[in-house]
Each structure stands twice: as C-alpha cells, then as structure tokens.
C-alpha cells in the first residue's frame, strides 16, 4: 500500500473529507485541485482519490485526498478512508442545520476511531449564499432584505464555539467563489506535526476497524463471497 504512493512519503499527508451529502465536499476539492467550480455537481459515488501539492515556506506537502460520498448508503465504507488519515475536513453547509448535526457525528466518530493525532478541520461551506460582508456581498443588505436572501442558518458563533470546544480548526468557505478554500488546506498542512510526516503508515496500521451500522453490506462485499466466485484463477 505505502510503497505504491508518492515517492516522497515523508511529505505527503493523507486527508479525508467527510460530511452530509451535497454540502460541497467535492466542490471544495475541485476548487483546491483545479481551481474550478461546477454549478450542478453530481453526487460522488463511492469515493474519489485526488492529489495536490501545497507549498509552505519550509516544506512542500503533497495532499492525498479521499473525497468520500456523503450519501447514507456509503457511510459504512468511511472507516476505510479515515483510518490512516492524518487530517480530516468535516464539511457542513451553513444554510442547512442538519448538516452541522451530521458533521458533529463525524467529528465524534473520528475522535473515537481515527488515528489519535488526526488534525480535524470543521468547514462551513456555501458562504456565498449569505450576506456576510466578508464574502463581499453585504451591500445589498437591508432594503431588499429577504430578496437578497441571507440563507445562513448556522451562525459563525455557534459553529466556532463548538470547534473550539473540540479542538478543531474552523473555517467558513465558499467553493463557488473560492473564498477561504486554500486557507483551509494551508492551515491543515501547518497543523500537521513534523513527526507525523515522517511516520509512514503501512497497511499493518489498519487496526481493528469497527464498521458502523451497515454490517450486512460490508459482509456482502467481503472478498470471501465474491472471491469464491471470481478469483479461482
């Protein structure tokens, strides 16, 4: 596993994105990797794996990114992606209250089951849909009020307080405008301890992983059954 990765494993960081469906995980990655945005992005099926370099003054970090699918039916596969991760981006949509609840669940699961030193960033996405002056759209506030549509449902305060309690990095972003996106990744890169960069985790590091809930799906998937059928070669 490890040997098939980048030639400079000491400077690569495994990062996983988690969060409710449609909060904009893939869009954040697309912004970070390709500096692009797609208005009607289709849901991720399974997971996508991407890499992107991030230049810090003292070193270069190569992110190996797992962009997971937020849909419930893929939830049981998540441990496979976060189990070796050094960093996690837990994303919610700040116009959608349920997505913060889901994000909190992911944070709790990571704290229980991921590597102990994992760096977690909580990210509230779709900032462009709010009227915050920060994203440069506050001018129309007031007069047209509802019209200009502040769709924010989760206050910065609320999320920030939670992030501080849990010791998470915290950002509000817009994958659409690009606001704060590279900042998230830079902050993560800076937060990864030097020591952790040197420890390469082999396949052996995959400690006993408890798969949540959907045990049946995982069993069906198991190499056992299909292998019997398939790989008698």
């Amino acid at each position: 596993m490890a040997d098939s990765n980048a030639p400079k494993p000491s400077s690569s960081v495994k990062l996983v994105l988690l969060g409710e469906a449609a909060v904009g995980k893939s869009s954040l990655v697309l912004r970070f990797v390709n500096n692009d945005f797609q208005e009607n992005k289709e849901p991720t099926i399974g997971a996508a794996f991407l890499t992107q370099k991030c230049n810090l003054p003292t070193r270069t970090i190569k992110f190996e990114i797992w962009d997971t699918a937020g849909q419930e039916r893929f939830a049981s596969l998540a441990p496979m992606y976060y189990r070796n991760a050094q960093a996690a981006l837990v994303v919610y949509d700040l116009t959608k209250p349920t997505s913060l609840i889901k994000a909190k669940h992911w944070v709790a699961e990571l704290q229980r089951q991921a590597s102990p030193g994992i760096v977690i960033a909580l990210v509230g996405n779709k900032l462009d849909l709010t009227n915050d002056s920060e994203s440069g759209q506050a001018e129309s506030e007031g007069a047209d009020g509802e019209e200009s549509g502040d769709a924010r449902k989760i206050s910065t305060e609320e999320a920030k307080t939670y992030a501080e309690e849990e010791g998470l990095l915290f950002f509000e972003t817009s994958a659409k405008t690009g606001h704060n996106v590279s900042e998230v990744f830079t902050a993560i890169a800076n937060a990864i301890p030097e020591t952790s960069l040197k420890s390469t985790r082999g396949p052996g590091a995959s400690s006993a992983v408890n798969r949540g809930g959907d045990e049946q799906r995982v069993n069906l998937n198991g190499p056992r059954e299909a292998a019997k059928e398939g790989c008698a070669c």
């Binding site: 893939s26 797609q38 289709e42 419930e72 059954e225 059928e229």
Partner: protein
C-alpha cells in the same frame, strides 16, 4: 386495452368518403414527398386496404407465419415512418394507422421487389435473382438517378411531426411558477414521448424520469391500481395501449417497472429497457438487500436507499429514448485496432495484473479496447452496460476528476454482493477536462476487484499498465484510433448507397457500425434511424416468423435485415435504392466485416 381501431387510418377513411376520387399516381411523387397532408383523404382506398400500402416487410412476413397473416399486414406501414409498434399477432399492431398512407408507386415497387424473397434465401445473393427482370429500363434509370437520396430526406412533415419536439424531450418539467401552472406542467409532462416509472407493489413511487413525484403521484396511483387489479386476478398485466401509446409493465419482486412509449418499440424491446433499469437498482442495492427491505417493511420508501441512483436511471432511460444500438442489440462496441496492436495491449495488460484483479478493461471514447478476465468468467453485456452508463453517459464520475473507487454490484455476475471498481480517466488533466468530456475520446482504465481494500493495488497496476502502454507507443495508437472515430461508409464499401448499418457478431456479443456523421448525427435523424432499426429488429425477431432476410421499402428509406446464427445485420439506404443496390451494398459490407473481423471485435480477450 388495445388500440386496434384508434389509428388515424380510420379517420382518413371517414374523411376520404367526402372527397373526390383519387388522381392517378405520378412517379414524381416519390421525390417530392413534401406533398401536403391533404393528399391523405384523397386516397380512401388505401385506408381500407392498408396491406398494399406497405413494403416488403409485410409480404415477406406474411409468407411465413401460419394464421398470423392479418396481423402482420400493417407492420410495414408503421415502418414507413419508423413509428411501428410490436408486430406480434394480436398485439393491436394497427394502432399507428396514420402511417399507412403511401402512394401507389411505392406499393407496386415494393411488391415487385419482394417477389423473389418469398423463398427463404440461404444467401443474400439469391435475393438478386429475378429482381432486374421485373423492372422496366425506364424504372431502373429513374432509380439510378435518385438512389443517392438519403434516408429521411423525403420524410413528410406530418410523419416527422411526432419528433418535432424531440430536442426538448429531455428537458425537465419546470417548477411550478406564475408562467408554469399545474395544467401547463401536466400538459408538458404528457407530451413526453417516453416515460419510465418505477413503483413498489404497495404503490409507493420510487422513480419517474419526468416530473416531481408529487406531480405524478396520481398517474402512478392509476398505474398501480391497474396493475394490482390484474395481479389480484392471477393474470399479470404485461402491457396495453392507450391510443398510440404503449404501456409495458415488468414486475420484479416487490417492484413494478413501467415504460410508456410513443416511439414504437416492441414490447420485447421495452421490456429489455426496463430490465436494464432493474439491473441498475440491483447494482446499487444487491438483491438480498432489496428483498430484505420489502420483506421487513412492504411500505418502505425506496428512494432513500437508492439516493444518488436516480441520475444513473435517468441516463439509462435517456440513452434508450435517444436510441442505443448497444442496448438494442445487447452487444458491445469495440475500438477498431489492428490485431497485432490489440494483442500487444492485451499482453501488456495481462503482464501487469495484480492478484486482486477480477476484471480489467481499457475503454476509449466509450468503446472497448481490451478486456482481461479469469478463464471461468466472461463479462456479461448487461453488467458492462451499467458500467458504461455510469462512466460515460452520466457525468458524475468523469467530471469529478481524480481516480474513483466505486462499490457496485454487477447483477449478472453475482447479484448478491458488491465488487469494487477502480476508475481512472487518463486524459482528464486540469486544462483539457472540459474539452475531453465534449470530445468523448477519453481513455479509461477500469479495474474491478472483489476486495474493497485493494484500491492501492489497483492504482499501482494502473500505473504499470500506463507505463507499459506508453513504452511501446500503444497509448498513442489508442488515442489516434479513438480520435478517428468510427469508419465512414465510403471507406467500408466505396460507392455504395447504403447509408448506415449495424453488424452484430453473435458469438462475440459485439457489434460494429459506421460513423453516424453527417446523415444521422442530429438528435432527430438519429432517433429515426434507431426507430427503423428497432422495427427491423422486432420484425425479424418476432415469434412465429422464420424470416432470415427482410427487405423493406418505405416512403423515406429502404432497409434490409439479415440474420444467421453467426451474425445479425441491418442496413439502411435512401427511399429509392433498389434491391440490387441494397444487396450489393450489404455484400460489400459483409466482406469488409469478415476481412476486418479481428480488428472490429475482441475475440476471446486476455484470459488469465
């Protein structure tokens, strides 16, 4: 339940009675098919005897089945404008009566050209016998001059009418608003030529191609009531007509799948489309999960567990509506490559194989380049259809960039569990991403494993394969071939008037066809072509027929179908192509296909 008497041929007869008697036919009408619709009532005799209005298709078919003569008589009329319905006896095939308007020239022509085919021809050449002798030199001259008329060039306005809005067929129903009242939205919904719906046997809506489920809830309710009425009577309903719309129903365990089509496919074809949708559902859930969900709670709303599958169902549905040769023939298309190149690519692929691998595929521009597989397992076309749909038709995976790791069930392989699919699009780099998806020439490496932990093994294998392919220049060969696209008709059979064909190698479950450009590259002409193929396919496959060769003269096309245990062949030419022209063209194509067989098809593939 059937529409035997709904067709507009009846109307034409009624109207015709009040009109002056018909003028004698003039040959010029063949070319000037722009004749206004008023011509219709001027030919009352036609509607009373539609049989004669049609092409060889009927006559041919009539000569074989016993007892089903009457039923077949209208089939060819439908074929004239590619809007036919199923020709199985008793299926109410007369529903498309408005199509059976043809002019007398066509009749005599088709009857003449048919005669020799009445004996079962063992070889296409035998079709030629007697053909020439039946036509006057003047007739031949006329034909030789007009044989270059392209298919559908002469389609009359009212015959093409059903497809006039086809470009908007795939648009979604707008949200309700001031400009879009509920009535207007419902009207738009009803105007769609094709609907697919899936509901649970408890009546819960699961999927509809158009309209939010709220809007169509009542329609679904009606459908469910009708189906369960028959279900209760232990006599399941398979299909019915409402006017010129065919309803076909497939019951799969706890699911009802319904196709509603005005496009004239046969029941068999519609059923195959519904089966594909069902396969997609299994691919998401697996059979045991689907069964359990409903065993535990029959009233479950399946939309939640299927979340995200909707776009895959819709891209499948739309490919059927646009018309897919691959779906029609149940076969795959390969990238044309020299035998030695394909061999070398297979070997490079095999050489890099990891033991985690079950299936490996290289695909370029949606066409198969190479397959490697265990000796004991071949890949089922219906499974490949799902993979191709996900990767090449529905944009999600491709647009994401990066590599993908996708759990999916391949139901024809094993409907009980998941496999894991590694996908890497080679050419999707940041700059050219948009262009690539537009050009449809991207190369994908698809590696499938039963082991969900094997992503990095397969990623490693991909890197090795790409290195191997680059080393010998094979990657460029693949790119060039993909860019070149399908061969042009005049490269395949120079000088032929045949405009397009489908050739399926039955043993290899693969097909090939020439470029659709320029005659069939737009949405509507493509659909016409596909409707014609659907008609030929259903006629020649109809139960109780022993037809092996079908020559069919329609108003705006001439076509030919030929089936042997080895291959299926369908071809199309303009309306004035003589049978000689058709058979010569067909023979040339056949020789080409024989010569090119190992380039066109993957024979065996890489086996380990």
């Amino acid at each position: 339940m059937s529409a035997e008497n709904v067709g507009s041929s009846g109307d034409a007869a009624a109207l015709g009675g009040e009109r002056p008697p018909p003028l004698p036919p003039r040959p010029s009408q063949i070319q000037s098919k722009s004749s206004p619709s008023t011509i219709v009532p001027e030919r009352p005799n036609l509607s009373s005897k539609p049989t004669t209005a049609i092409s060889s298709m009927n006559i041919q078919t009539l000569s074989f089945p016993d007892g089903s003569r009457g039923t077949f008589s209208t089939a060819g009329g439908e074929n004239n404008n590619s809007q036919g319905t199923e020709q199985t006896p008793g299926a109410g095939a007369a529903s498309m009566g408005f199509n059976s308007i043809s002019n007398d020239i066509d009749e005599s022509m088709s009857i003449m050209s048919l005669a020799p085919t009445l004996r079962p021809p063992g070889d296409l050449e035998s079709l030629l016998v007697g053909d020439m002798s039946k036509k006057s030199p003047a007739w031949m001259l006329l034909h030789s001059q007009s044989a270059a008329v392209q298919p559908f060039e002469t389609t009359r306005a009212e015959e093409g009418a059903i497809l006039t809005d086809f470009a908007r067929e795939f648009d979604d129903i707008p949200e309700p608003s001031e400009t879009w009242s509920d009535d207007a939205r419902l009207k738009l919904w009803k105007s769609k030529l094709k609907h697919f719906m899936i509901l649970s046997s408890a009546g819960k809506p699961i999927y509809s191609r158009y309209g939010d489920l709220e809007m169509i809830n009542s329609s679904m309710g009606v459908v469910q009531t009708i189906i369960s009425f028959y279900q209760g009577a232990k006599n399941p309903l398979l299909g019915f007509y409402a006017a010129n719309t065919r309803f076909v129903i497939v019951t799969q365990g706890p699911l009802y799948l319904v196709a509603i089509s005005k496009l004239g496919e046969s029941d068999y074809q519609l059923r195959a489309q519904l089966d594909a949708l069902y396969m997609q559902i299994l691919s998401t859930l697996t059979l045991p999960t689907l069964t359990n969900i409903f065993a535990n709670r029959p009233s479950t709303d399946l939309r939640k567990p299927l979340q995200g599958t909707e776009s895959l169902l819709s891209s499948l549905a739309d490919s059927f509506t646009r018309g897919s040769p691959s779906a029609l023939l149940g076969a795959l298309e390969c990238l044309r490559l020299r035998k030695s190149h394909r061999h070398a690519i297979n070997n490079a692929f095999l050489k890099t194989k990891t033991d985690k691998l079950l299936y490996g595929l290289i695909v370029a521009g949606g066409r198969l380049v190479s397959v490697i597989r265990p000796r004991r397992h071949s890949l089922h076309p219906s499974d490949l259809q799902l993979i191709f749909n996900m990767l090449f038709e529905s944009g999600g995976v491709k647009a994401g960039g990066g590599e993908n790791w996708i759990p999916l069930c391949l139901p024809a392989f094993n409907n009980r569990g998941y496999l894991y699919m590694y996908v890497s699009f080679l050419d999707v780099d940041p700059e050219s991403e948009r262009d690539m998806s537009a050009a449809g020439e991207e190369i994908a490496i698809i590696l499938i494993s039963p082991d969900k932990e094997s992503f990095f093994d397969l990623q490693h294998m991909r890197d090795d394969v790409v290195t191997e392919l680059k080393k010998r220049g094979h990657l460029d060969i693949i790119k060039t071939a993909a860019k070149q696209g399908r061969p042009k008709m005049n490269e395949i059979a120079p000088g032929t008037h045949v405009s397009h064909f489908l050739f399926k190698s039955r043993a290899n479950v693969q097909f090939c066809m020439p470029s659709l450009h320029p005659t069939f590259s737009n949405l509507i002409s493509h659909r016409r072509l596909m409707s014609l193929y659907h008609n030929l396919h259903s006629t020649i496959h109809a139960k109780h027929t022993h037809v092996k060769v079908l020559h069919c003269v329609g108003e705006d096309t001439t076509s030919l179908a030929w089936i042997t245990p080895i291959f299926e062949f369908y071809c199309v030419a303009g309306p004035n192509a003589s049978r000689t022209v058709m058979t010569q063209g067909a023979n040339k194509i056949m020789q080409w296909a024989k010569r090119e067989e190992e380039r066109l098809f993957i024979i065996g593939g890489g086996v380990f």
